[in-house]
Symmetry: D2
Subunit: 259 residues, 4 copies
């Protein structure tokens, strides 16, 4: 049955099993995926509906490794503090680390992707002049509304995020310097022109633009980058198990707060 209307809504194109088969993305998992696709390629296949080209795979992995870790971030600290209380449930510590990937940290990759996408919507194969005009308009609209321009500036890398030029370079080499990466570059120029204050394209913004340019749907960028962050968090938990920071941090905080 399922539904009064008789239509079964419980179906997915992602994966399924029978007693002797497992299918993922329409492919036989053992013979067509295992040994042939990397995790990055499978993740892309599931979101974009096709396997990435070698160039796209290169950009995808460059983005993922660029977002996997940045040391003792709030995300890593939350995971480590959680691990200190529940070492028997590492999945809970990883989940705690992911939960802060919102509007302030990591989420901006997806938010920039969506904003660039919406800004370009309907503009096919724009040349640099078109992009310049689009960027100027979009930046003005944000500033007029009292909003920050997505994808620009970084609290630590004030003079420039070292990931950004490398990502542009890799995308260019792969022939994948698409309209969203190019628009974002114009956005930074337009922002500086409008405010007099230079704010370089940050790594999260460049990552979001690059993902959209290689075909990741903008609405999935926020999720896609979580794959990278999970990898980083797992490494933090391994280090935490061997050389705990969480409990010592708590003890220091307690001591200072109580003083």
């Amino acid at each position: 049955m399922a539904d009064p209307a008789g239509v079964e809504y419980l179906r997915t194109a992602i994966g399924s099993s029978t007693a002797d088969t497992i299918t993922v993305a329409g492919r036989d998992l053992p013979s067509e995926v295992m040994g042939r696709l990397s995790l990055t390629e499978l993740a892309y296949l599931l979101l974009a509906g096709r396997e990435p080209t070698p160039g796209e795979r290169l950009v995808l992995d460059a983005v993922l490794v660029s977002l996997a870790d940045h040391g003792l971030t709030p995300s890593a600290l939350a995971a480590r503090l959680t691990y200190a209380g529940a070492p028997e449930a590492p999945q809970a510590a990883v989940a705690a680390g992911l939960l802060g990937a919102g509007s302030v940290f990591l989420g901006p990759a997806g938010d920039t992707a969506q904003w660039l996408w919406d800004t370009l919507a309907g503009t096919t194969e724009p040349d640099d002049e078109v992009l310049r005009a689009v960027a100027a308009g979009a930046v003005a609209a944000r500033l007029d509304a009292g909003l920050r321009v997505p994808g620009l500036g970084h609290p630590i890398h004030k003079a420039g995020d070292p990931r950004t030029p490398r990502l542009y370079e890799l995308a260019a080499e792969a022939g994948l310097l698409g309209p969203h990466l190019r628009l974002l570059r114009e956005v930074a120029i337009a922002q500086e022109a409008a405010t007099g204050r230079p704010l370089p394209v940050n790594g999260a913004g460049a990552a979001g633009a690059a993902l959209v340019d290689v075909g990741v749907p903008p609405g999935s960028v926020r999720g896609f980058v979580l794959i990278a962050r999970t990898a980083g968090l797992v490494a933090h938990l391994a280090e935490e198990a061997a050389q705990p920071i969480g409990r010592r941090l708590y003890e220091e905080v307690e001591r200072r707060a109580g003083g």
Copy 2:
């Protein structure tokens, strides 16, 4: 300051930043990681302390893609139901999906890895005869204690998990059919001999054994497989956004429960 003793405990070998550099795993992120390592390779580097060989990378990716998804699992359903209530926070839906990766689902990959590791500890380069004896003893110990033998049996793939032979084959081709994969095979034989009931090596168990054989520390296997599951969950959320199941499932449950 930091600590009364003057020793700074807030340090990590995973990653760090300065105003114009980002370092991950001791390597300069833009020039030595981006464009050179895949996410899988970086995850391994962070856990194992060295980059994987091409054969190891192949096994790592085969394991990860084999665990990324199996359709509308409890994990995927929890993520989708969470998304139905908070579509603005996809990281919360992914986290909800990961939280069930415990002793029953997905966790067994890590639990099998740890058990095989502990069982073999101290046995270097065991030949098949040694492995057979070790397996018989370990299986007897579990059964005597009234415990299930890790890594065997599957509720759906009763006659054999299709991922298992493929993973053994890939490991063998890569010259990486190590002692833990080989031990697990003997464990299945010993279990059948002891109980008269065949329980084939399942995909999670084979995955755990393969990861230990290629050098993932056993205590990190539970975490490592979460990277794959995150990729699967992100795909479920993309599909959920386009074709919602969560809310309809809830409505059906509500209707049936209220009847």
Copy 3:
């Protein structure tokens, strides 16, 4: 030390400990809180900075019990599915259940509270005529912007949410029928006048308005109602342990999806 500037930021007014004392909200926990305050009263004290009056306590508890549970909601299902995979970590199952309390489910209590608060800001002791005008303006602004009016309508309780009249009654009896509850009533009237379609005040909206009227800061309403939901989820896990739904639901979904 802590900070270069020498100012210690690690301090909280919520609680602290020494070797032989525990302080919560500025009170000695054993002698001034235990045996004297209920959890509801302590929660209010921590948010509002003072203990509630008996009438306020009555309204607070009425709100909390009204939001604790509604059967097999998406939240309860996510918790139960998570428990099926990780029964050893009940905190993970509760967390999974809370994670969906966003813009669609449960969150609307807080969103309505905030909207009513912002709408009334600066209007002190408004009489009914003022409220009527404020409501008309606020409803028109929402509808003009193509937005839903907060606090109105319910997918199941179409003709009226049974919690709403009871909450208004209890608040009135306690002399706490404040401007936000009264404004929300006018909002429903204004909405029907503007659209011709009656949408009664829902239980979440009334809850949010009542909490603001008794002094819970609007920005904390989203959090406050999670206390109630945690209580409901814990009950679901107890029932799930005795009479599992999660695994059976998954098995049914799997069967139907695979067919």
Copy 4:
């Protein structure tokens, strides 16, 4: 349909709705719960199957307020760090704070409850002499197995947890100093006798024992105390919004880790 066997498993005794009614714990929510039961009483009703007596309610609330907060704990810090990244999703920050309530922090209340319950199982109305013998045996069994004795000792309150005597006093005044609280007291005596080292009953252990004595099922104690912790976390988020610690803590850690 539902099930092949035709039996509907999707049912719950916790709550349900129709178009014009909401039922919780078999009671009409508006008329029989709202205005009559506190959240604490409803939580107990859902777990114990009956409303608490006034004495039981007093003990329940004393336990809950004793566990709601202890300042800048790992749990509070994880919640605040998560909030720093995703202030738009407070439910995610609360969930992050709960996730560390495992075997090390907060979980011991439930673990002690279960251990005391298992230790006493089958012993009805034990007198002090019986409890003394049971305690001695149970303590010896733990120590022989190289395990810690549950419910004893505290890293900060080394000479005695200030909550413990107060909880015993309140339970005694209410006539609810039951076998589990009494057993735990004997356990502390037996442990000191066996090891020569005094370890006072800690607040979490006393809380677990008291909850079982008033009728909370031991398997639900771990969950029950999460209600209290949620209240504490919500207060931390309110304070964090007004006076941020999370981001500043991260910045300090970053600075120290990078040096």
